[in-house]
Symmetry: C2
Subunit: 346 residues, 2 copies
Amino acid sequence: MTNLTLEDIAKMAGVSRSTVSRVINKHPNVSEDARRRILEIINSTGFHPNIAARSLASQKSHIIGLVIPRSVNTFFTDPYFPRLTQGIAEACNDHDYTLSLFLFHTEEDERKLFPRISRHGLVDGTIIQSTYAEDEFFETLRNSDVPFVAAGRPWHPGDASYVDVDNVNGAYSAVRHLVLLGYRRIGTITGPLLTTAGIDRFEGYKKALTDSGFSIDESIISIGDFTESSGYYSAQKMIPYNLDALFIASDNMALGAIQAIREAGLHVPEDIAIVGYDDLPPARQAIPALTTVRQPIRRLGIELVETLLDIIENGPFPPRRMIFGTELVVRESCGKNLAIARRMNN
Amino acid sequence: MTNLTLEDIAKMAGVSRSTVSRVINKHPNVSEDARRRILEIINSTGFHPNIAARSLASQKSHIIGLVIPRSVNTFFTDPYFPRLTQGIAEACNDHDYTLSLFLFHTEEDERKLFPRISRHGLVDGTIIQSTYAEDEFFETLRNSDVPFVAAGRPWHPGDASYVDVDNVNGAYSAVRHLVLLGYRRIGTITGPLLTTAGIDRFEGYKKALTDSGFSIDESIISIGDFTESSGYYSAQKMIPYNLDALFIASDNMALGAIQAIREAGLHVPEDIAIVGYDDLPPARQAIPALTTVRQPIRRLGIELVETLLDIIENGPFPPRRMIFGTELVVRESCGKNLAIARRMNN
DNA sequence: GTGAAAGCGCTAACAG
DNA sequence: CTGTTAGCGCTTTCAC
């Protein structure tokens, strides 16, 4: 199984290497006869064109990068990433692209690896996870000529293309649900307010309250950072303020909050109802099972790839922007059954 | 910022392109003077050699692949993968390699993507996650001339190189700990017995029992599949068999088991002590906090890369095999304090 | 429909 | 120490 080249195949088929190349690249203008003969030889020999040579000649690598800037420190704990990666990988497979992963740990990484990402480097384009405000690497990318698309709305979108989930309405529907269930003092634990996801979910919370004629009460708003422990401490802090429901911007924080509530001798949802965000697997198995907002993360990944390929092919203008809707998954923690029971007693 | 080539840099520096190439590749035999001049120009122009051209000429891509065969269906739920990926990515960055991710979903993916992985394709070598017995893709890889190393001992190692965690001793230390704490009826929930990790942890369990003069009791052994729900049902099934401790081959299963135990009106660790495996973040926050076996997963990732680079450079023989030790992390669920208290009362 | 020829941008002998 | 010279294996005009 030594290494065949186009030339070898051409010789075997009694044609020139151009013709073989045409067959491989599915160009028209090849006689049916030659095409058949060539395909046969390719199959029987297990020939595959050398990818480096092809990249060099065609000026495209058929590789796209997935960049996780160093400020994203949750890659290893947040199930969002594996899911996103799954969607991206799936779409790459479908489109015959290869996925390269750029996980930065240090500033040096970001500097050192940029050449591999930049236009005439390794990749044809890149997906970048959007992150905290003012991410340095994002700015570098924006100022380069690398085709890219952001996963999640960037802090300063400018002309950047991005694909996101409708965090505002996701949060809105969750809080609105609590309102309709009859809760009156609905607090929130937000995500970090230097991320667009954190901001947007907080916006949705406020809007739902305002639309329902409620006022915003700072004493039952706490800023978290998406981690379980921040949920725990935030809840602990707010429990004395007499709330009857809590919209929590991530399931991980919700799990922490439930623990704090339980330790305070209170019950979910009887004393405090809870709605989370993400629909992670643990949400389903929590006690009580978590009512939460499900995001189409795999879809997001697929759309990111397709958007990027479109940009690679047709240029960055106009910016592509796409937002996916969410679903509210109603389980136990919002006290829906409780609310129904209560209503029936009145 | 148009595209510079070696030739351009050479012209600017008044030397030949070979000399520039030597500087870039840190070859000796370049006058200090020329080197300085060239480096200066490279820096000021922001020149970076074209990677495809370099790959073509040097016959190496400086890309390694991480292959997750389709039979690994836990990529998206098991935190093992993000951590492993982190270690691998980190080592790749350090060694100036790029990481490509091959996540297979279908059999077609495996067939279609093999060319990109095979010797004169895209990657210089690949790390493959070992998986269930008789994995098809693994066999394909083994029969090819692609340098590779397995993450975890493969089912049929043959001459394959691998890096693994010492699952036998990890389990052994966990069970031994329970024995020393004074438990007498120690059951287990195993992982799938078609994975080497599942088998090895089960071996460790049996060995620890035998070494301690205990007999193996089938009625308190249940075969799980590493998922939380399998832990739940396994525990439920075994509770009637009067066990006082349980070694559970994954934290996820342990979490499920705790839930089942609680629902049965029993307490951990008072009625049934528990030791898990993995030391996932939820283990620390579980109630009670989980005693568990911690694996050096990031280290594993780093070692995989270094082993692979060694194989790429020096060939696959002799097979490299490396096993990392584990640590027992003692928290609440094993009832250590309980045992101590008990002992003091006697 | 097909072949010849000219690169793509780099590395690596080889000769000096 | 440095330049010359061949490629690496493929794509892509341009003739025919």
